[in-house]
Assembly symmetry: C2
Homo-oligomer: 342 residues x 2
């Protein structure tokens, strides 16, 4: 079977099966009135020609592309990958295909990306984060399709929301550390405004410290978000160089927390006896580190699942106008890296 120049079309299948193209079209859709025998004949003809439906043409004609556009800041991030997995699995039965884009934590890139994605006429858009350029907001509003913002709690939502408060989630960790008796508490994060969720965590954490009457000055930012294990390690060293008596540190993510933990161990500090380390995100690594790292589980997978469920109702009922806000409840996972044993 030689590779052909142009793939066979529905008309080719129709001719071979001795029916009209319209019947072929129907034969490929479930729940359309086609005699079982005709359908078999068409299926056989299609298979023998190696026919594959052209969704491009189908989408143009039916005005339903079967695409859901989704943006995430980065591929190399287990949290967003989990969300994506929840989304993918939740949409599997609908036959919708996810059109994915990476913003690299950059609003300008996000705007470019959204425009590129909208060109494909997705039937809905799932967008990570709540900070968008003005033009990006306008593009989304004009697109006339449901929009779901995830992983955040926007002041001014574009449509539906499946998210949580990064500030409150981080405050949970402050509560925990204070409750464990730590008083000289620091924070490690990235050093630009790109990662707004990271900044929200920092803000929420420091605010909670202040509310406890504690100092909020032990903040060390290092590297472009999302910060890596290596950067977490260096940040911890720098933080201890400046404030050697620090008792506990929260890191903006589990990856940087793991780096910080490694740095402690290399310099002979015991965790948590000499210094407590906490992370964020409930990555696998936090669970399997020695000691296991206290972290916040933000329900990354569930965000995807809930967004998918919301999409299913939107697509079924065409009721994109009712903005709904689903709040995910982050939970603290207290582990050895911060627990004081009396």
């Amino acid at each position: 079977m030689p590779a052909r120049r142009t793939p066979p079309t529905m008309a080719d299948v129709a001719e071979l099966a001795g029916v009209s193209p319209m019947t072929v079209s129907r034969a490929f859709k479930p729940n359309s009135p086609v005699k079982e025998e005709t359908r078999r004949k068409i299926r056989a003809a299609a298979e023998s020609l190696g026919y594959v439906l052209d969704s491009t043409a189908a989408g143009l004609s039916s005005r339903r592309t079967g695409f859901i556009a989704a943006t995430i800041p980065s591929i190399n991030n287990a949290n967003f990958a989990d969300t994506l997995r929840g989304l993918t699995e939740g949409l599997a039965e609908t036959g919708m295909q996810i059109l994915l884009g990476y913003t690299d934590y950059d609003l300008v890139e996000e705007e470019r990306l959204i425009e590129q994605l909208l060109r494909r006429r997705p039937e809905a858009v799932v967008i990570t984060g709540s900070a968008h350029s003005e033009r990006c907001r306008r593009l989304l509003a004009n697109a006339g399709v449901p929009v779901i913002e995830i992983w955040d709690q926007p002041q001014d939502p574009l449509g539906a929301v499946v998210g949580f408060s990064n500030a409150r989630a981080a405050a949970l960790m402050a509560d925990h550390l204070v409750e464990q008796g730590y008083r000289k508490i620091g924070f490690i994060g990235g050093d630009s405004s790109r990662d707004t969720r990271g900044l929200d965590r920092q803000r929420g954490f420091l605010k909670a410290l202040r509310d406890f009457g504690l100092s909020d000055e032990r903040v060390l930012t290092y590297g472009l978000p999302p910060i890596t294990m290596a950067q977490g390690a260096r940040a911890l060293e720098a933080l201890l160089a400046r404030w050697p008596d620090t008792e506990a540190v929260m890191c903006v993510s589990d990856l940087s927390a793991f780096g910080a933990l490694s740095a402690c161990q290399r310099s002979g500090l015991r965790v948590p006896e000499d210094i407590a380390i906490a992370g964020f995100g409930a990555y696998d690594i936090a669970e399997h580190a020695n000691p296991a790292i206290t972290t916040i589980d933000v329900g990354a997978r569930e965000i995807g699942t809930q967004a998918a469920a919301l999409l299913v109702t939107f697509l079924e009922e065409r009721e994109s106008d009712v903005p709904s806000v689903i709040e995910i409840e982050p939970t603290l996972l207290a582990r050895a890296s911060t627990l004081r044993r009396p």
Copy 2:
């Protein structure tokens, strides 16, 4: 600006700008003869209407969809994410969009996925792995577009290849362990045939052991691939329960190696003094673990970069018929987890 029912079309922009739709079409393509003033007028009209090009229609008409289909086994895998990043960045300048699918290490799912992707009429297909169902091979052959298999070295390539020999890569590790003086060497991997690359590693590793005249019996498979940190930990415990005098273990991936390392440390074993642990894949975690884990860098990012470069030539020259095979050279990263200090 209210959300409209149906988005504006090129004809709407044309009317507002006082030109023909064709001119609008040209105004959006670079290197087409349009007066600068006209172009500005059209751009302004488009912006004021919130016009976004419909790639669906464009693709149908021009027979160039701007899609590259790509499949990877899993999202939650830093290696494949790296490959994807290389691919994305390498294709960025071309304006091609990646249409991504996850096979979940399953050939049946792969076939389903490939058919779904081919419906979108991608201009090329990048597919991870070399094992495919018969129908999948036929679909790809019939599609009439360049196909690149990555991350492997197929016996019978579908088209171009950017990969490496998993067996030889694993043999590198056997060489290293033997060279370090270990003799009672084990292997930890997943326990099904789904992950063919993992199996290739196992095969190559055991073969190398035999070639050194060593026993190849210390193999423990545990859990569905890709195996997790937790499974790596349990596998190590099981392996030591059965062969307590094991001196060194290679794990099919760095994640399971990290789990194994943690398991050792929990049970008071010193690494590498009591037992050496090695991984595969050069994940971040291997570098930052304590001790750092010896691993194999397979050049995941480079696989993506090279595949992108190949695609660029294919798309420019329309020379998909010349199958090229690019071999990536895996390298051993010798680290503390296996190094004997005399």
